[in-house]
């Protein structure tokens, strides 16, 4: 079957050596995609690579068309099944990429001619660009830059002569080509209009990071294991103290079976009338702004890592200053779409602003005091008892926290397992070991049992200041939960029972509150990040500041930012101005590359004596006796004199001087002597000029 002679000539075959480079390029391009794709696709790609290598070594044959067709059908079915079992019936981005990578890998098995090689190379560039749909971080960008160089090197290799294929030279040339393209890339990045999507790409979704809508005590503990970045915040002014950095994310109002869940909170609709006359109206942005007037405010910008969900993090009490953001009536910020890439938003917070000054609606009051029927009897009893003793919200909370302080409670990331029934009783009276969720949960339960509206707030607490760029870095291990209690006079008040058991956690961060056994349970990198190992901390901070700048300047450079830059540069954003600017700066950047190329290839500067001799030649040429290329001083000058009817002997001194400086000079020669000879030659040149002019 495959003994048939190839249909095209040898000239169209891929050179063996550049084929190797091409396969390396393909591997380099596929590697980052393995993070998103299922294992079987990677396996298929590896198998195809193995098969092609065997063909390359002459061991195996190309698969025939039936095998290829079967592979294609199996791949499509596999991707379809994968998408279906993955839950999304639609053609998701993952499915599309899987199909692309599979086709890319299968192409290996029919890569015979140059035409196929070109296809693979152009497909490689495309596959490189698809990677940015998943991840736009700095390491990925650098890696894909490298991949671009390798693919370009494969393209260069394809054009080398069969006899002299040098992969290193190809890579060098490709690097140089890509380097030349960088100025134009920068220009296009800055100026080329950000066109809105023509068709909507189903974005990668599915996995959420950070805290979730349901909170069981174990969740925060597992987040504490992660040093993954949650977000960075840039403060316009001084960063508030560590203990004031409560980043509100979600509000948990429902409790059932040991799990806290987010209640239904409405997006503040400014014009909607209250549902019932007696219901308090949610505070509108206008009234909030009025109330905030004169209060201290904190301005900052948050760069949130992709979370896959729509809620955002901000300090209390936050007013969004980015158009796509909404505020809910429990004072959270939400985005209009899930956050899938690094999101940047501006917030102004008023720490002293009252929440819900209009009072609680009946519905809210009902929700925030609801408890499951008849469980945790012991703690209910304690609540009644404490409420009888205090009779006031703040005093009640302080009494609870005093108990936490005085009784042997411990802060630990590895608490004993609690039963699913009466879990709060078990925690409060028996184990007495836990972390923020346990304490916050107990306080909310106690308050609700005493009929005080109470809710748990989840988010992050604290953060680490990067001294290089001065921004705040909040990581997953900063995840935290605290409590809000309703005071009829003071509105929602924040209480953090964790501060009673582990004040260091709030004042200094997680590290200070960890016991040595807790620390031992952390993954290595988190532990190292927390440890006081100075040079490593410095290096990590440096990397963080790099990544921060990348997000600030490159990933965050969206249509809004671009409009700002364009306005600054062009005065007004008009199509013809943009086109002109593109043309102009594009020409400059290309001209720059061209100038560098020319400069690198510039001729060696000529020695003064050579220039002088060439001036003799030009002088003769203007007199009608041009110098032949092979004529040196001793043959040309006498001929010139003779043909122009001058005295040949007059030339003798000049010829001698010229030969002396041109052919008899050496390093040890007296430079003054040389200068003298050059001066004499210049004199002779001028004299000859005059004589030739006279003879005409």
């Amino acid at each position: 079957m495959s003994t048939k002679a190839p249909a095209v000539g040898v000239a169209y075959q891929i050179p063996r050596n550049s084929l190797a480079l091409l396969m390396v390029a393909q591997l380099v391009v596929i590697i980052p995609h393995t993070l998103q794709l299922s294992v079987w696709i990677v396996a298929v790609a590896l198998f195809c690579g193995l098969w092609r290598t065997q063909i390359y070594r002459g061991r195996w044959n190309y698969p025939n068309s039936w095998v290829r067709a079967a592979l294609v059908v199996i791949s499509i079915v596999g991707v379809g099944l994968g998408a279906a079992t993955g839950g999304s019936m639609s053609f998701s981005l993952e499915a599309a990429t899987s199909l692309l990578v599979l086709a890319f890998a299968l192409k290996l098995l029919e890569m015979k001619n140059r035409r196929d090689a070109y296809l693979v190379i152009f497909l490689s560039y495309f596959v490189i660009s698809t990677q940015f749909l998943f991840d736009q971080s700095l390491p990925v960008a650098l890696y894909e830059m490298f991949a671009t160089v390798v693919v370009t090197a494969a393209l260069v290799g394809l054009h080398q002569l069969h006899s002299q294929v040098r992969p290193l030279a190809s890579i060098k040339l490709a690097t140089w080509l890509i380097a030349q393209a960088i100025p134009l890339t920068v220009v296009l990045f800055l100026l080329f209009p950000r066109v809105g999507p023509i068709w909507s790409v189903p974005m990668p979704g599915g996995h959420q990071t950070g805290i979730g809508e349901h909170l069981t005590p174990g969740d925060v503990a597992s987040l504490s294991q992660s040093d993954e970045l949650a977000f960075r915040a840039v403060f316009k002014s001084r960063i508030p103290a560590h203990r004031d950095l409560y980043w509100r994310g979600l509000v948990y109002s429902q409790f059932a079976g040991g799990t806290w869940s987010v209640g239904t909170s409405d997006i503040t609709d400014l014009d909607a009338p209250a549902r019932r006359p007696e219901e308090a109206k949610p505070q509108s942005a206008e009234t909030m702004a009025q109330a905030a007037e004169g209060l201290a405010s904190i301005d900052y910008q948050v760069m949130l890592q992709p979370t896959g969900s729509d809620w955002l993090y901000a300090l209390d009490v936050a007013l969004p200053r980015t158009p796509t953001l909404y505020r809910t009536d429990d004072y959270r910020l939400v985005n209009n779409t899930p956050v899938l890439s690094v999101m940047r938003y501006d917030v102004r917070s008023y720490p002293d602003l009252l929440m819900s000054p209009g009072g609680l609606s009946l519905r809210q009051r009902y929700v925030e005091t609801a408890l499951p029927e008849a469980d945790n009897p012991r703690i209910r009893e304690l609540a009644t008892q404490l409420w009888q003793q205090t009779g006031e919200v703040e005093a009640f909370a302080n009494a609870v926290m005093a108990q936490i302080r005085e009784q042997p409670f411990y802060y630990t990331l590895q608490p004993p397992k609690l039963p699913s029934d009466n879990s709060i009783d078990a925690f409060w009276f028996d184990t007495k070991r836990g972390f923020c969720t346990h304490y916050a949960g107990a306080l909310v339960f106690l308050a609700r049992a005493a009929n005080i509206p109470a809710r748990m707030v989840g988010g992050y607490q604290g953060g680490e200041i990067n001294p290089i760029t001065g921004h705040l870095v909040v990581r997953q291990y900063d995840a935290h939960a605290w409590v809000e209690l309703w005071d009829e006079q003071a509105g929602w008040q924040r209480f953090d029972p964790t501060a009673s058991v582990a004040p260091q956690r709030i004042e200094e961060g997680l590290d200070a509150a960890l016991s040595s056994t807790d620390r031992a349970s952390l993954p290595t990198l988190s532990a190292l990040r927390l440890a006081d190992w100075e040079s490593l901390t410095d290096a990590l901070q440096w990397l963080d500041s790099l990544e921060h700048r990348w997000n600030l300047w490159v990933v965050g450079f969206d249509a809004n930012q671009q409009a700002g830059v364009l306005r600054e540069l062009l005065g007004k954003v008009e199509p013809w101005r943009i086109a002109l600017a593109l043309l102009f700066t594009g020409a400059i950047s290309l001209g720059l590359a061209a100038a560098i190329v020319f400069w690198r290839r510039r001729a060696e500067p000529l020695a003064p004596e050579v220039k002088l001799f060439q001036r003799f030649g030009r002088l003769g040429a203007s007199a009608g006796v041009p110098r032949a290329p092979h004529e040196g001083p001793s043959s040309y000058l006498p001929r010139l004199a003779q043909e122009k009817g001058l005295v040949v002997e007059d030339m003798q001194g000049c010829v001698e001087d010229l030969e002396q400086v041109m052919y008899n000079s050496s390093a040890d020669q007296n430079p003054a002597e040389r200068q003298q000879a050059l001066r004499r030659i210049r004199q002779q040149l001028r004299r000859l000029q005059v004589r030739l002019a006279l003879s005409n």
């Binding site: 050579v610 032949a628 092979h630 004529e631 001793s634 043959s635 041109m662 052919y663 008899n664």
Partner: protein, 291 residues
């Protein structure tokens, strides 16, 4: 020798540059006479080998012969063991014998039966060859031609010189009366002086451009070898010294260039092995002396 001053000068320059000389012309043009005269005027020992198709390497190099008196083998040196060797009609010999001579030319030593013997110093081979189109010739391959520093052609004499020749007596009689013009020590100091002639960077650049032109221009079947460029520089230096200069000028290079490169070049479109002269002319005229 009458009316051939340039050829004689070139031959002397070749000797001073410690190179070997190939003289190519028709029979009877005075090749043997010239070589003989050179040997005598320099006061050097002289041997002549007449090459024919049945000459064997041992005939040139020498062989071990059994001596009946001593009962031992004794090495009898061949005609090659002389300071000046005239290899007459070298292209009439078979390649095997040719290569025996050519190896000795490059290494300046002879290896026979496991013993290496040095050849005298100076060692100067003057080879003559008939034009390769004549019958009964084995043309020298390029690799062997490359070992000759120069190849010169004598050509027919000028009419005036020929009349003089006819009027005079037998020229060979004059050889008997010739006295050496210099002695060995003087020759060696002259050869030393040649290597001390200065070649400036500008001139080295020129030679390099010439050589490079032969390598990149399409009409050349192949370019000059580094041995070719060294030969060009060496011959130029000798030529400069012959003209009482201690530095080389482009005109020196141009004077020796045809003799040095013609036999090393072949035209790309030529399969008979001719056309070196036209190519040398091209090198001369198309390469600029100052870049």
């Amino acid at each position: 020798m009458l009316g051939k001053p340039t050829q004689i000068r070139l031959a002397v320059a070749c000797l001073l540059a410690r190179g070997h000389l190939l003289i190519e012309d028709l029979p009877g043009m005075g090749k043997t006479l010239l070589s003989h005269a050179i040997a005598i005027s320099l006061g050097l020992s002289y041997n002549r080998v007449q090459f024919t198709s049945d000459v064997l390497p041992a005939d040139i190099l020498g062989a071990s012969i059994f001596d009946r008196n001593t009962g031992e083998f004794r090495f009898v040196e061949g005609p090659l063991f002389a300071q000046v060797v005239l290899a007459d009609e070298i292209n009439r010999a078979t390649p095997k014998s040719q290569s025996a001579l050519l190896e000795a030319m490059e290494e300046r030593q002879v290896t026979s039966e496991g013993t290496t013997r040095d050849l005298p110093d100076p060692f100067f081979v003057l080879a003559t060859q008939n034009p390769s189109t004549q019958t009964g010739t084995f043309p020298l391959p390029e690799s062997q031609l490359d070992r000759f520093l120069m190849r010169i052609e004598l050509g027919y004499p000028e009419p005036e010189a020929e009349r003089e020749l006819l009027r005079g007596g037998d020229r060979r009689e004059l050889l008997k009366d010739m006295k050496p013009a210099i002695d060995l020590a003087e020759l060696k100091s002259l050869q030393q002086a040649v290597s001390e002639v200065k070649a400036s960077d500008l001139l080295i650049d020129y030679i390099q451009r010439v050589v490079n032109h032969s390598r990149v221009a399409p009409e050349f079947a192949f370019g000059l070898s580094p041995r070719g460029s060294l030969a060009l520089l060496g011959a130029s230096k000798a030529w400069a010294l012959l003209h009482q200069r201690t530095h080389v000028v482009p005109e020196d290079v141009q004077a020796v260039l045809p003799s040095v490169v013609e036999h090393r070049l072949r035209e790309a479109a030529d399969f008979a092995g001719h056309g070196g002269a036209a190519l040398a002319h091209k090198l001369l005229t198309s390469v600029d002396v100052v870049g």
